[in-house]
């Protein structure tokens, strides 16, 4: 392992228990608490897959369920292999074997990448425009089209694992164990309501869990410390059931929801035996509180898909939570304040931050001032216009933005980097709300869709409801939760 990609200590990773795993046949090491993605990044592996059509190199881009790129095949066994699994969601265990998909012969040298060279000849709706001549050749064309289909490989033998399902009836179901969900759970359970709190991660706390910054304080302590205390207090509440590693899969009418609880996927191979792998919970809740948070948006520029281009908030989680440096020379590109949190975290962990490229004229928030005070260079009113580096980013090009923000001008500044963090603002996770049949509204100020009308007994709280500031999140989560219990 490249030692210097780990920070000295992380509160969430047990650096005393080393775990060995294999990726693409190569033996690597990580620590207990790692995900496959964090362990790969710690081993300086960014290239993990190839894109579907042009076979362009793909790297880890996020750190949770929103990961679009790092989709891998887990296991080699014909009956136990699992295709298309997000590396960011696989908890590392002793004996894990994973491999990249959709590449041949290997992810480093992929024949299919020739498609990228011919990409002008493969426009959108390409299939419909061609392969029609001569007409009886279609069967042959189709054979090759089908060969290029799909990402992972299906198992070829029956599954040996055991699965279970169970009905669950509760007064309140809270989806998401971040700061809002925890506040709601506490209020619900203290109101003598039979409450269930679920979260897809292995511990509660969401992003607040590793938010240790002067700018984010609750009752005079760091928000992470305050929240840790709140989580500790939840344990004494009798009416509350907490289910971690449980992701909500469906939201049907009349508050009927399906959730998948992962029971053994994170265990060592020899500990999994004879245990239920996953349990499907069929939940009927009187009230549902959605607290699924928000996810960071990417920014659009040429070649923004290279390995090493990572969401800025994910870089922060990798450094603050997993103790993993996504790069040694990191540049950041943003249109909002969040990237500055990442810059400060990186700086505190001794990672060299090249600069922050910000499309705004100027910002005067506390967090930006804090970054300026640390001497972090900021390119105001500028944009990243291109990147280079084939299998991993090695530099970016920065240009000044015109007054109306539609064009760039002036000299191209080339900046060398081995990682680029991008932050295009935040998108509330309204997916569950819309799946339940809810209608959205649009907020013009920051271009987000927010939950609006719903026919069900449910509310959305926290950043999935459009609150992005800590004080607002706390205040509105309390207010809305109390309100739903009144009717």
């Amino acid at each position: 392992m490249t030692r210097n990609l780990r920070t000295a200590n992380s509160k969430f990773i047990d650096q005393t228990s080393r775990i060995s795993f294999k990726f693409d046949g190569k033996k690597l090491y990580g620590f207990k608490g790692d995900t496959l993605a964090s362990a790969l990044l710690a081993n300086n592996i960014h290239l993990v897959g190839r894109s579907f059509k042009y076979h362009r190199p793909r790297g880890i881009m996020a750190c949770g369920s929103e990961e679009p790129n790092a989709i891998v095949q887990v296991g080699n066994d014909a009956s136990m292999t699992e295709p298309n699994t997000r590396a960011t969601e696989i908890e590392l265990y002793e004996g894990l074997e994973a491999s990249s998909q959709n590449c041949w012969p290997s992810v480093n040298f992929d024949i299919g990448a020739i498609n990228n060279f011919f990409s002008p000849l493969i426009p959108a709706a390409f299939y419909y425009k061609t392969f029609m001549w001569p007409s009886n050749f279609w069967k042959l064309y189709e054979y090759f089209i089908r060969k290029s289909a799909g990402l992972g490989k299906s198992p070829t033998e029956p599954d040996k694992d055991i699965y279970d399902h169970r009905y669950l009836h509760c007064d309140v179901l809270i989806v998401g164990g971040g700061i809002s969900g925890i506040i709601a759970a506490k209020i619900a359970a203290k109101n003598n309501l039979n409450t269930v709190l679920i979260d897809d991660k292995n511990i509660l706390g969401g992003t607040t869990l590793f938010q240790e910054n002067e700018c984010f304080k609750v009752n005079n302590s760091y928000s992470n410390e305050w929240l840790k205390n709140e989580i500790e207090n939840l344990k004494s509440l009798e009416n509350l059931t907490i289910k971690t590693r449980t992701s909500l899969a469906a939201y049907h009418s009349y508050n009927y929801l399906l959730a998948r609880e992962n029971l053994t996927d994170h265990l060592d191979i020899n500990e999994k035996k004879d245990k239920i792998r996953q349990r499907l919970w069929k939940i009927r809740a009187k009230k549902v509180i959605i607290a699924t948070g928000a996810m960071e948006r990417p920014l659009i520029f040429n070649n923004n898909d290279r390995p090493g281009v990572i969401l800025s908030s994910s870089i922060k989680k990798y450094i603050d939570y997993y103790g993993v440096k996504c790069g040694q020379k990191v540049s950041l590109f943003t249109n909002n304040d969040s990237a500055y949190e990442t810059a400060i975290s990186l700086n505190n962990s001794g990672v060299n931050v090249n600069s922050v490229v910000d499309i705004r004229d100027k910002a005067n928030s506390l967090i930006v001032k804090q970054a300026e005070k640390l001497g972090i260079k900021i390119h105001w009113k500028s944009s990243v216009v291109n990147t280079s580096g084939y299998k991993k980013i090695n530099s970016i090009e920065i240009m000044k933005l015109s007054d109306d923000g539609t064009t760039v001008f002036g000299k191209k500044i080339k900046e060398e980097c081995d990682c680029l963090g991008i932050s295009g603002g935040w998108t509330p996770r309204v997916h569950l709300f819309t799946q339940s049949g809810g209608k959205l509204k649009f907020r013009d100020e920051d271009n987000v869709f927010l939950p609006d009308k719903s026919g069900l007994d449910q509310i959305s709280i926290g950043s999935c409801n459009g609150d992005f500031e800590l004080d607002q999140i706390i205040k509105n989560s309390v207010r809305l939760t109390k309100k739903i219990f009144k009717n």
Binding site: S79, M80, T81, E82, P83, N84, P120, L121, P123, A124, A125, F126, Y127, Y128, K129, T130, F131, M132, W133, S135, W138, K139, E142, I145, R146, K147, A149, G150, L151, G152, K153, S154, P155, T156, E157, P158, D159, D161, Y163, A250, H252, S253, Y256, L258, K282, G437
Partner: protein, 417 residues
Amino acid sequence: MKNKYSIFSIIKNAFSYNENWQRAWRDPEPKKEYDAIIIGGGGHGLATAFYLAKKHNMTNIAVVEKGWIGGGNTGRNTTIIRSNYLWDASAGLYDHALKIWEGLSQELNYNVMFSQRGVMNLAHNLQDVRDLKRRTHANRLNGIDAVWLNTEEVKKFCPIINTSPDIRYPVLGGTLQRRAGTARHDAVAWGYARGADAMGVDIIQNCEVKGIKRNGDSVEGVETTKGFIKTKKIGVVAAGHSSVIANMVDLKLPLESKPLQALVSEPVKPIIDTVVMSNAVHAYVSQSDKGELVIGAGTDAYVSYTQRGSHDVVEGTLKAILELYPIFSRMKMLRQWGGIVDICPDASPIISKTHIKGLYFNCGWGTGGFKATPGSGDLFAHTIANDEPHKLNADFNINRFVSGDLVDEHGAAAVAH
């Protein structure tokens, strides 16, 4: 066609960074009057318009669509195409469609990716065996290529099926139609839209029909969200919403609209290269050219227009899938959705005139309309243009529910209803 697709057009456009492709169809405002209006811009409606223009020289016509074209059941089905129906009338209808499918990509200059990978129907009990063998014989008498396969032959044709005798509903054999298969559903709608548009048909999207204007026993036009449009002939091809249109002229149809669900898995490398249907346990599955397993579930028993079904329907289907294909247990489902299907009591469609002059209905396709798209469009166009049914759809008139001449295809419909 103005912008014919060919190898040359692809190379030419590559040089201009693919920025000069013409729109596949226009987006016109409705004219004041048309010779005919088709309500519903799904596959069947667009095909109807295409054949009205192509075969009957009716080019001053419009297709009005409430949402976007192909956004209804055309975009929601499991794309299975076959013609192995029991009765002569159905065999005639569905095989007429299958024959058009076989040359459709060339006819439209648009690759609909019609893939004749075969469709197998499994038998799980003795009654299934008798029914399916009977259907095979009936098919062959009608010139349809159906063969009976025993369990070993089933296993040989599709090796991933669990043919073990100790599953709850063991595979006792099956029928195979080799000419049957699948097609790319969106491409069908887009191909017909492009073809119809090129001949002058106006395709008007985001235009909901609010009422039908009548003068005595004839139609005069349609009230839409884009204003009144005058016409003497209206062809209704609104699938799940047929009764809603019929109610505008106080017409009752023998239909119930129910949610039908389907789902696809994450994409994987090719693992099943045919279509397997299993009515008794309700599991049918195929794999798309993108790699997703395409799975058809059942209908709910109640009327609903919500495009959402009940979870237990999907769960039952997946249980059956896993019994027949235990290797899929670790695969994850990517999407699940519902469409609204209008079901006739005899599980056969209606392609018919009505007692109102100039009003025609093409509906009641239930859970299996996609396969008939080209045939349905061709025959409905004939019916509208001549004010008389073609001999292939004469048996599918509304009046059969009064006369009692039903075309009972419950056994051949994929989804029990």
